[in-house]
Assembly symmetry: none
Homo-oligomer: 527 residues x 2
C-alpha cells in the first residue's frame, strides 16, 4: 500500500471558521507546531488574497521545517486571461512556496451556473495553470472543487477535468466534497473510479456538513486515496473541515496505517489545545480522542467497570493520543514535574521537603482559581523562587487604583467630541523607598504599565528594554457573562528573550495587573 500523506489546511480553510482571525505571528507559531507534529504538507494561506498571507509566506520561508513542505493555495487562471499575466497565479509564484494547490472546478453544473464560462474554457483554466506552475518547477496539487457533486451530475465531465489535469502534470488530484453533503459509500465509489481511471495519486478533502467528514476521509483512503486533507479540531467554514485530530488516530490505531510516529501521536491532544488557544477559542471538551471529556466517566456502572478492565468503556488507551481518563483526581501536573522544572531554573527542591509540598499545594490552589502555567513559564518560575525563603523580590506592591472615564464635551464643533481618559496610580516599595506614581495610558492596563515603569525605572533602568508584545484575555466560565473568571496571558520581550506570564481574577483589571507585575519581576530577577 502506498504511503498515506497528511495535509493540514488549518491556516487556510480552518481560518474560514466563524470567529477565527489569525495574525501573521499566530500563523507562524502554528506552522512550526504542525511541522513538529509531523504533517507532510502545511497549507499556509492564499497569497494575493490579503496582505497578511503575503507576509506569512515571506516569513515562513525562514522557519526551516524539519519535515513538512509549505503549500500556497490559490485559484487557476481567470477565464479569458493568459496564465502568465493572471494576478493570482503571479502571487502564487511570488509566494515562493515549493508546493501549490490550485482550486479548479470539476463539476459541470458549477462551471455553467456559477463560473458562467464554457466547459472547455474551464478545462483550459485548469490545465494551463498546472502546466505553467509545473514549468517553474513547483509541485502542483489540483483541488478539484465540487468533485463528488459533479461526479453525480455529470460523471464524464468531472473525470475529464481530472484527466486533463493529470496530463498537464498535476502531482495529486485532490477530490473535494466542497458542500460537505456526500455519503461515505458515494465517496468510496467515486474514489475507486478515479483511482482505476487515472495514474496520478488521489487525495481527499472533506467538509463536515453532514457530520460525515471523518467517515468520508477514511472511506476515501480505503478506496485508494493517498493524501488526506483536513484541519486541527475540524475548524473550517460552516460546520467545519474533516478533523485531523480524529482521522490521524483512526488511520494509525484502527486501520494500522503508519501515518505518524507513536511519539508524535501522543502529542495530539496538546496540538489540539495549542491551536484552540492561539485561535482564542475554548477547547471543545467533547472532541473525540483529544477532548477533556473524551475519556470521562459519569455513570457509576462505567466507573466500576473501568476499575476491572481498562477497555471496559474506552475504545483506545487515552495515553496513546496524549489524553487521560478523567477518573484521575487531580488534573494538575504532579510533583515530579514541578521539581523537575524547579531544577531547570536552578532551584533544588527535594521531593519530600516541606517547600515542595507547599509549592504543589499553591499551584493546585492557583490553578483552581483560573491560573494556568502551561503557557506561562515565567509566572511558574516566579512561584518557585517565591517558595524559597531566601528570595528577595526586586519590589513590593503596596496598592493601585485605575480610573477610566468618558466625558462628552460640549459640542463646540459640528460633530460631538468625546474624550476617553485612563489614569493609574500605583504605590510600590523598592528597597527601602515607597514610590507613589501616576500615569495616563491608552487604556487601563497601559496606564498601569506606565505608572509601574515610572516607579521602577529610577532603580532599574534596564526595564526600558522590556516591551509587552502580546496580551490575551480568556473568559473561563461561560454563562456568567461579565461576572465570569478571566485569565490574562502577557507575552514580553527585552529584544533578546521572550517570556510569558499569567494572571487570573473575576476582575479583568486585576488579572491584567497580576500578569503585568509578573512580567516585570521576572525580567528583573533574570538579569
Amino acid at each position: 500500500m502506498a504511503r498515506i500523506e497528511l495535509y493540514d489546511t488549518t491556516l487556510r480553510d480552518g481560518a474560514q471558521r466563524e470567529g477565527i482571525s489569525f495574525s501573521v505571528l499566530d500563523k507562524l507559531h502554528i506552522a512550526q507546531k504542525l511541522d513538529e507534529f509531523g504533517f507532510d504538507y502545511i497549507e499556509g494561506g492564499w497569497p494575493g488574497a490579503n496582505p497578511k498571507d503575503n507576509e506569512f509566506f515571506q516569513r515562513a520561508a525562514g522557519l526551516g521545517f524539519k519535515k513538512a513542505r509549505l503549500v500556497a493555495f490559490g485559484s487557476t487562471r481567470k477565464a479569458g486571461v493568459a496564465v502568465e499575466s493572471d494576478a493570482n497565479i503571479k502571487a502564487l509564484v511570488e509566494s515562493g512556496a515549493p508546493v501549490i494547490t490550485l482550486v479548479g472546478k470539476s463539476s459541470a453544473p458549477q462551471v455553467e451556473k456559477v463560473l458562467a464560462t464554457s466547459l472547455d474554457e474551464n478545462i483550459g483554466m485548469v490545465a494551463d495553470s498546472i502546466r505553467y506552475l509545473k514549468s517553474l518547477g513547483r509541485t502542483v496539487f489540483l483541488d478539484a472543487e465540487h468533485f463528488f457533486d459533479g461526479f453525480k451530475a455529470d460523471r464524464e465531465y468531472s473525470l475529464k477535468v481530472l484527466k486533463e489535469a493529470a496530463e498537464a502534470g498535476a502531482d495529486c488530484l485532490v477530490l473535494c466534497d466542497t458542500n460537505g453533503g456526500s455519503l461515505p459509500d458515494e465517496v468510496a465509489e467515486a474514489v475507486k473510479t478515479v483511482v482505476a481511471a487515472i495514474e496520478v495519486p488521489v487525495g481527499i478533502h472533506a467538509h463536515n456538513d453532514a457530520e460525515l467528514a471523518v467517515a468520508n476521509s477514511l472511506a476515501a483512503v480505503k478506496a485508494g486515496a493517498t493524501q488526506v486533507q483536513g484541519t486541527i479540531n475540524g475548524y473550517g467554514e460552516r460546520c467545519g473541515n474533516a478533523n485531523l485530530c480524529s482521522i490521524v488516530p483512526a488511520l494509525k490505531l484502527k486501520m494500522g496505517i503508519d501515518v505518524i510516529g507513536d511519539l508524535e501521536l501522543t502529542r495530539l491532544a496538546d496540538l489540539s489545545h495549542f491551536i484552540s488557544e492561539v485561535a482564542n477559542l475554548s477547547p471543545d471538551p467533547f472532541l473525540p480522542y483529544v477532548g477533556h471529556s473524551a475519556f470521562t466517566h459519569k455513570a457509576g456502572l462505567h466507573v466500576s467497570g473501568l476499575s476491572r478492565w481498562v477497555f471496559a468503556y474506552q475504545h483506545i488507551d487515552p495515553a496513546s493520543v496524549g489524553n487521560k481518563p478523567r477518573t484521575l483526581v487531580s488534573e494538575l501536573a504532579g510533583r515530579t514535574n514541578i521539581i523537575q522544572r524547579a531544577q531547570e531554573i536552578g532551584v533544588n527542591l527535594s521531593p519530600k521537603s516541606h517547600e515542595s509540598q507547599e509549592l504543589l499545594e499553591r499551584v493546585k490552589k492557583l490553578e483552581s482559581m483560573g491560573f494556568q502555567y502551561e503557557n506561562a513559564e515565567a509566572s511558574f518560575d516566579l512561584l518557585v523562587h517565591r517558595a524559597n525563603p531566601g528570595y528577595v523580590p526586586p519590589f513590593h506592591l503596596v496598592d493601585f487604583m485605575v480610573i477610566v472615564e468618558k466625558r462628552r464635551r460640549p459640542p463646540i464643533v459640528a460633530c460631538e467630541e468625546e474624550e476617553m481618559m485612563s489614569e493609574a496610580v500605583v504605590k510600590v516599595r523598592v528597597g527601602g523607598e515607597i514610590m507613589h506614581t501616576a500615569a495616563e495610558g491608552s487604556g487601563p492596563v497601559n496606564a498601569l504599565d506606565a505608572a509601574m515603569r515610572k516607579a521602577l525605572l529610577p532603580s532599574y533602568p534596564a526595564l526600558d528594554t522590556v516591551k509587552l508584545t502580546d496580551f490575551k484575555v480568556r473568559i473561563l466560565e461561560e454563562s456568567t457573562g461579565t461576572e465570569s473568571l478571566v485569565r490574562v496571558l502577557i507575552e514580553s520581550t527585552d529584544g533578546t528573550d521572550e517570556w510569558h506570564t499569567v494572571g487570573a481574577s473575576a476582575n479583568l483589571i486585576e488579572a491584567s495587573w497580576l500578569a503585568l507585575v509578573d512580567s516585570l519581576e521576572y525580567f528583573l530577577i533574570k538579569k
Copy 2:
C-alpha cells in the same frame, strides 16, 4: 424495504453528558416535544435507578403521545438472582412503560472481565429477563452492550447471545457500539451477519468516540438495521451519542427513506435549540443541518457564487430542516453581503443608494478600527437602523466613569488581606430625563452593567430578563502589548433569543462598554 424506526434516548443516554441535569418537568416537556416531532420511541429513563425517573414514568403516562411509544431502560436480572425477585426488573415493570429496553452484555471478554460471571449465566440473565417481561405483555428490546467489540473478539458468543434473546421473544436486537470506537465497515459487516442469521429486527445504537456515530448508524441501516437510536444534538456520555439531528435528514433527504414527514423535518432546527435551551447549554453553532453557522457564508467568493446558484455552496436547502442561510458581514465580502443582511432584517437598501453607500463606508471604517460584524449581527443591525434618519434610540449615553482599586489593609491577621473594588458611575438620558447612577461589581464591566441597569430599569422593566451569557476579549494588533487594539464580543439572551454585539477600542473598558450598550439597545428596539 422495512420501515425504519427512530428511537430517541436523549432523556436517558443523552442526560449522561457532562453538565446535563434534567428535572422531571424538563423531561416531561422534552418528551412532549419529541413526540410532536414524530419519533417512534422515546426512552424516558432508568426506573429504579433514581426517584426522578420513577416520578417521570408516573407522570409521563398522562402525556397522551400522538405517535411515540414510551420506553423504560434497565438491566437484565443480576447474576444468581431469580428474575421475578430482581429489584431492577421489578422497577421496570412498575414503571408501566409499554416498551422496555434491557441492557445485556453481548461480548465474551466483557462478561468475564467486568461482569465476572460465566458466559452461560450471562445468557441466562438475558433470556430469563426477556421471557419474563414478554410474559407480562411488554414489547422488549435487547440493548446488546459492547456488541461490535464482542463480535471482533468472539463472534460465536456474541451471536449466541442474540440468538437466545430472539428465542426468548425479544422484539428488536439493538446492536450497541458502547465504546464508540468501531469503523463503518466493521459495523456494516457485523449487522449483515446478524440480519442474515436471525429473523428478529435489528437496531443500531452508536457512540461518537471516533467521530463516526452518524456514519456507523447510516452504515447499519444500509446493512439492514431497521431501528436507529440516538439523541438530539448528539448529547451523551464522553463524546456523545449518535446525533439524530444529523441522522434523520440524511436518511430522509439523502437516502430517500421516509422516516419522518416533510413538515416535521422543518421543525428539526427548532427541536435542536429547544433541547439545548432546556439542558441550559449554549446551542452549538457548528452543528450540521441545525446549527446557526451550518449555512453561513464568509468568503466573498462563496457569497457571490450563492447569488448565482443556491446549491453553489450548500448541500441541501436549509429551509427543509428549518434553518436558514446567513451571510457574514466582514472585510472579505462586499456590498452584496451588506445589502443582503439589511434585507434579512427588513430594511431595503438599493445597491446604488446614498444610504447603502454611506453604510458601506461606515462598516469599512469601523472594521478598520477593529470592529468585526461577522460575529455580532446585533451590532450590525443597529448600524443599519442608525443609518435610518427616522431612528429614535431608546436611550442616549452621556458619560461614564469606572474606578478599580486595590488597597492593602494593615496585616491584622497573619496573612495579608487585600481588597479589590470596582465601581461605575453612568449618566444616561432616557426620554427627557437624565439618569445618574452608580453601582459596584465583581469587575469594571460588571459594575458598568449594574449601573446601566439601574439607569434603564425604571423605564424598561423588560431589561430584567436580559442576561449576558458570554464575554470574549481579543487583542487585535500584536507587538504593541497593552496599547493594542481590543475587540470585545458579548453574547446576550432574554431566555428565548440570543444575540451578539461588538465593541472595539484601544481601551479595554471602552470596548466592553460599547458592546454592552449595543446589547441593551438591541434588546429594547427588538421588543
